[in-house]
Symmetry: C2
Subunit: 351 residues, 2 copies
């Protein structure tokens, strides 16, 4: 009977529990949330009855009363789920882990073009306690919007904003400086950087880091060193093929992602060039599932970070912000590790 009642989902609400136990709704409510001032005995009695009835608070009613939903939103372009080469799923995996651990819900909010509209809607319909946004532009209008909406948020990545905001980002700047220095140490001067699309902040940061490394040695980075292209195997391949046809081809490639590096490897193979001996390749590796720098042959020297870990951090910080465990904006830059493998060798003397 109890079982069938639970399964049939029949109004296991506070009112019926109160009736059955001869207590008031508020006592039940307090007992269930272990409020101070409820004697252990009644608390136990109430919890037992609630369990037996399969009671769970109605999330909507509770959140109407409390003003919180215990749900965070992830706002992203629908397209990011459709591309074969994306690190989005890894971020999502991290977020899911954190959300599960903290007992929050995750609302997926894909958009086709009107992201601001989605954000406004999430804020005013009060469906979430906070949101995660990704891939910030160099100057990103979403920051101001979200601050104005007073909706807690965390950005995956940094941006140049006047106002304060929380973010988690990989240490792209230093990673690229480190990679550039490595190549410089090996005697490379004619390096081609296969970077991402210029509108993103991290891409600009990487470009700057590259030039900084040269400047620090009193060198000037070669003109046209940096290619601003998308992060796919295909573009990596095409770009490498194009630059290998230069009158004076580079002695090293520095890639923004393992996807691009794969394409570069393919181009080099096609030119009969041995990676590490004839030409060097290094890249940044976000730890995307199934696309590791380690698995290329030869294994690829890379700065390694965990994009999934980043996703986890992002969600944890957002939840802290929501619960006011964090009060000021949290800005976290995740470390990387330089992993030396066999894809980098001494620069051959140029012809």
């Amino acid at each position: 009977m109890t079982e069938s009642k639970r399964l049939h989902n029949d109004a296991a609400d506070l009112k019926s529990l109160a009736l059955a136990l001869g207590l008031s709704q508020s006592t039940i409510s307090r007992a269930l949330r272990a409020h101070p001032g409820i004697p252990e005995a009644t608390r136990r009695r109430v919890v037992a009855a609630a369990d037996a009835a399969g009671y769970r608070p109605n999330a909507r009613a509770r959140s109407l009363a409390t003003g919180r939903t215990e749900t965070i939103g992830l706002v992203f372009p629908l397209q990011r789920l459709q591309l074969p080469e994306t690190n989005f799923v890894d971020v999502l995996a991290g977020i899911s882990t954190a959300v599960t651990a903290r007992n929050y819900n995750l609302l997926l909010s894909p958009f086709e073009d009107d992201e601001a509209g989605v954000l406004r809607k999430l804020a005013s319909s009060k469906s979430v306690d906070g949101v995660i946004i990704t891939r910030p532009l160099v100057r990103d209008p979403r920051i101001a919007l979200l601050n104005a909406l007073r909706l807690p948020f965390v950005v995956h990545g940094r941006t140049e904003a006047q106002e304060p905001f929380s973010f988690v980002d990989t240490d792209n700047d230093n990673a690229f400086e480190r990679l550039t220095n490595l190549l410089l140490d090996y005697g490379h001067r004619h390096i081609v950087v296969i970077n991402g699309l210029a509108q993103f902040r991290y891409v600009a940061a990487r470009a700057a880091a590259f030039e900084r490394a040269f400047a620090a040695r009193g060198l000037a980075a070669p003109l046209d060193a940096i290619e601003f292209v998308s992060m796919t195997e295909a573009t990596g391949y095409e770009t490498a093929m194009r630059r290998l046809a230069d009158p004076e081809p580079p002695t090293a490639f520095l890639c923004g992602s393992v996807f691009q590096a794969r394409g570069v490897y393919r181009a080099l193979a096609q030119h009969g060039l041995a990676v590490g001996r004839d030409i060097s390749v290094a890249c940044h590796d976000d730890g995307v599932r199934g696309c590791s720098a380690m698995d290329l042959s030869p294994p690829l020297t890379a700065t390694a970070t965990s994009i999934r870990g980043a996703g986890e951090e992002i969600a944890l910080i957002l939840i802290d912000l929501i619960e006011r465990k964090a009060t000021a904006p949290v800005q976290k830059i995740l470390p990387f590790e330089l992993v030396l493998r066999n894809s980098v060798g001494l620069a051959k003397p140029s012809a």
Copy 2:
């Protein structure tokens, strides 16, 4: 002022609108939802005021009143987001597309081990109007549970259940029969099937289809023809290596997924066997992003379906069920297309 009010999210609720317009809350509410009986003139006036104020109904309050959330849940093992080789993301992409089109929300509900608990919670906390579950077992207890909970649901995949339920599935049975027939037509008799794990219905169905194809010609499928292993490149490789070491190795491999087929290709390359000439390979291709039968070399003969399309269908059906546009359970089996490429050739006469 209006703008700042909107941005600051200040109580743009029905009450304040009613006050400002000198109308009652219910009139505003009706006008906004274009109820019959509201004159066009007032409707326009109300809508204009609401727009100006940036009003959106509070989703929680609305759903508490209506009993619906316009949200569907996707319940899945957290792990499925972590594996490199998974078709889950493609299903998710399809679901996201449908949900966006129908103006629903998508609640992601990963679980670590207690799926039934998550389902119970979603049902009794009333956070979603319905759920999608995936990867049914041969006999799956979730069906009975969800029916008892009276929570609308759609399964991705079929199962043997007494009671009615809605599902969307690929036509695995006929796809595998077709593939088997193709190999038989080419004279293959000693075929090894690299199937999935036996607990899943579709795996059992594929095994049955394979044997049916043999039986239809008065042949008996070879003993030990079917390998029940996981769907990864690594297992494809290992299984192929093992079977190639048989005293009498197979003349063809039939794989359950492109992932496995990739592994098989690698094993064959290692044995110096030319696919299509020395040995044949065919597989089923779900249209997973970045893992297409078309992109292997030689391109792989396969039965092709769109797993993303399946995701889309699933969500659309669930929403129809919720909105009672569909009343009886909907059971949809998606077609496949046999795509002939160059990985299948005539069987070599056995030694």
